[in-house]
């Protein structure tokens, strides 16, 4: 013999069977979940690609800045003093000495001058 609880349970089950007729179909709901999952995966790849691109651009920009610094250093090392033209180069007075001519050469006769 069924208890009151069993009768209540049977009644609920019967009502549930009627309610299940109004439930939306499973397949479209499942397919929508699959579609959303795939589009999420696509977004993940796009974000990863964007990050890789930004990292590459950042690297290139950093290297360019380093090259710029090196160029600046080279400019400093090759800097010429603006007043350089006023100062004779070292050793230039030695050439003057080697080219020195006696101030009394003119007193010697011309034929003797020719003997060297």
């Amino acid at each position: 013999m069924k208890t009151e609880d069993d009768k209540l349970k049977d009644f609920f089950k019967k009502q549930m069977k009627e309610e299940i007729n109004g439930v939306p179909d499973f397949e479209p709901m499942w397919q929508e979940a699959v579609t959303k999952h795939k589009s999420k995966q696509g977004q993940v790849w796009k974000i990863a690609a964007s990050i890789a691109l930004l990292a590459t651009v950042g690297l290139v920009a950093t290297r360019n800045r380093q090259d710029q610094k090196i160029d600046n250093i080279k400019q400093i090392t090759s800097w010429n003093e603006p007043s350089k033209s006023l100062i004779p180069p070292p050793g230039s007075d030695l050439r003057v000495l080697t080219r020195w001519a006696s101030p009394t050469d003119f007193l010697l006769p011309k034929n003797k001058q020719q003997i060297k």
């Binding site: 209540l8 349970k9 009502q15 499973f26 709901m29 499942w30």
Partner: protein, 167 residues
């Protein structure tokens, strides 16, 4: 580890019960219930919800539906009002959303936790021990809701002068 086709077959077998449970969790907002169930399927497909086989599949699935519905209701600023258990309720205090049958009127008129316990026990054949963790309450509290829910349901049957054996 279960493959995606295994999941699909099992979820399909429980789809009807899952939807009715989702409707109950969403205070009979059928559109929200559909969105909740959709989100649950996506969580399972994404691998964000993993079945560890420590409980029955239906218990695990219903818990995810329950927690997902709570998130949805919070996002939509829907306040869940739990009726005072000692309060006498009248048959007129029913939810406006569904008036298709007197059965639904009576069920919707029960306090939320009594309704949920009766549905889980009678619709889905869960034991009180299985219902407790799903609703995040003690077994003692589940038993109280179960007994009071049945009592209130029978009171309403008498009120409507209905005999379930004749229906």
């Amino acid at each position: 580890m279960q493959t995606k086709p295994d999941w699909k077959n099992q979820l399909q077998a429980l789809h009807g019960e899952s939807y009715l449970w989702s409707v109950s969790c969403c205070n009979y907002d059928k559109e929200m219930a559909k969105d909740v169930l959709q989100t649950v399927y996506l969580k399972i497909y994404d691998g964000k919800a993993i079945f560890n086989e420590k409980s029955k599949l239906i218990t695990w699935l219903f818990a995810i539906i329950k927690f997902t519905s709570i998130d949805f209701m919070r996002r939509n600023n829907v306040r869940v009002v739990n009726r005072n258990e000692s309060q006498e309720f009248s048959a007129e205090e029913v939810y406006e959303k569904d008036k298709e049958s007197w059965f639904k009127k009576i069920l919707h008129g029960l306090p939320k936790q009594q309704r949920e316990v009766l549905m889980l026990a009678f619709y889905n054949d869960l034991t009180l021990a299985e219902i407790a963790p799903l609703l995040n309450i003690s077994i003692g509290t589940v038993r109280t809701h179960y007994e009071r829910g049945k009592e209130n349901f029978r009171k309403q049957l008498l009120h409507y002068k209905l005999d379930i054996e004749l229906l």
